[in-house]
Symmetry: C2
Subunit: 227 residues, 2 copies
DNA sequence: GCACTCGTTTGTGTATACGTAAATGAATAC
DNA sequence: GTATTCATTTACGTATACACAAACGAGTGC
């Protein structure tokens, strides 16, 4: 049980392990924003030498998760309201374009069914007042959608920026209003894709993300702490 | 004479120098697509040890310029027609969104004047049949424009993908039709920004990039070699 | 108290060392 | 001539070594 996971982890390079492990700790908030750690501390924590840690940090820094400051080690980057606004502008542009492309190309019946299933998951979670499950279903929906995009570079970018919003979304989950209109958006988006209407798909997705971004930004601006 | 340049280069870290130098050689086609080099060869070429070279390669690989294959060193990535299509889809989405934002925010008179100056440069170059100068002016225009975008993450992404199209644009410069309609697009875009019309700005930029992308893709598909 | 100098500590940037596994090629069998 | 095995080479992944410069703090002068 879960043997394949351990196996695959064990045959990965140390650099890859360091990257995955540090990233996981940041996303899980085990290393909250602002956390500073020296290369040596990370190396000790992960039971390896500084070399693979440094290489992992270069990637994480490129992806905007951490900052490497000359003498103070790595710092887990906080996500300010302004950062969030920037990230959502990018996600909005990329994802709405992807939605248009998907609607133009069309989706197979099983893919459409999967999307509808995810929408149903969201409805169920909302009915059960299970916000955690709702967030999972929401992630599921958007993952199914973006995976249907043929552009692998675009997919990679979207995943990268999702990562950067993950912590904030998790931590604001209980602060935001019930996501009823979010569910409505998703249903409308599936409809637009099903009827092969690229303009509508792009517009719906754009407004969906603009609204989500604006809400998160305002929560961050009014909230006490910077995440 | 160019002393400041040497100085700044000399106080850079070796990793930064390796990154800049390898990137330059790739963009200038001194290391054409497909070129394979071992870490040791690069290190010898740049008169440093493998360590900074490896760190530079990690960044270059993240940015999609090279591929690092376990035992064959680094390989300068070719840009296929499909790659170009992916990159232009992303640039189209990001830049047209940036154009809309700029039109919404509005530009100061000196920024508008600079843009108009760049358009004039393009006209002059085209009149003089100087394609090199035209490409420079075109780059100048789009740089001025994207620099007006407040979103630094978006700017960085656009620069990164421009880099990846640079070689192809240079090498196809003489193969493409005279860029008269390109100049017209730029003039129309400046007008849309000046009258603060975000929808028009986005639409014009979108179509401008879609056309440019389609042209490059078709040149690559019909051309003999992959760049 | 406050600024300033200078020695000390420490983290990093880079070079180097080293074991391992992939690639290569020779030698053999058919 | 083709396939297979095995020894050799070699490029890489990782660990370690080391010099330097930044940060820190004690001590000094005021």
């Amino acid at each position: 049980m879960r043997m394949e996971n351990r196996d695959s982890e064990e045959r990965m390079s140390l650099t890859a392990r360091a990257y995955g492990e540090i990233r996981r700790r940041i996303l899980d908030n085990e290393m909250p924003p602002g956390t500073m750690m020296l290369e040596q501390e990370l190396a000790a924590m992960l039971a390896m030498s500084r070399t693979p840690v440094r290489e992992a940090l270069i990637r994480l820094a490129n992806e905007g998760m951490v900052e490497v400051r000359p003498r103070h080690g790595m710092r887990v980057l906080p996500v300010s309201a302004d950062d969030m606004a920037e990230i959502y502008q990018i996600l909005t542009a990329l994802e709405s374009d992807a939605a248009a492309e998907i609607a133009r190309t069309g989706l197979g019946p099983e893919e459409l069914a999967a999307l509808k299933g995810a929408v149903q998951e969201m409805e169920d979670a909302l009915a059960a007042d299970d916000l955690k499950a709702w967030a999972r279903a929401d992630g599921h929906f958007h993952t199914l959608l973006i995976e249907a995009c043929r552009n692998k570079r675009l997919r990679a970018l979207v995943y990268q920026f999702w990562d950067q919003t993950y912590r904030v979304r998790m931590l604001t989950l209980t602060l935001r209003p019930r996501p009823t209109d979010s569910n409505r958006d998703h249903q409308a988006l599936v409809d637009a894709i099903e009827r092969r209407d690229p303009e509508a798909a792009a517009r719906i997705h754009r407004e969906h993300r603009l609204r989500a971004g604006a809400m998160l930004v305002s929560l961050l601006r009014n909230g006490p702490t910077q995440l």
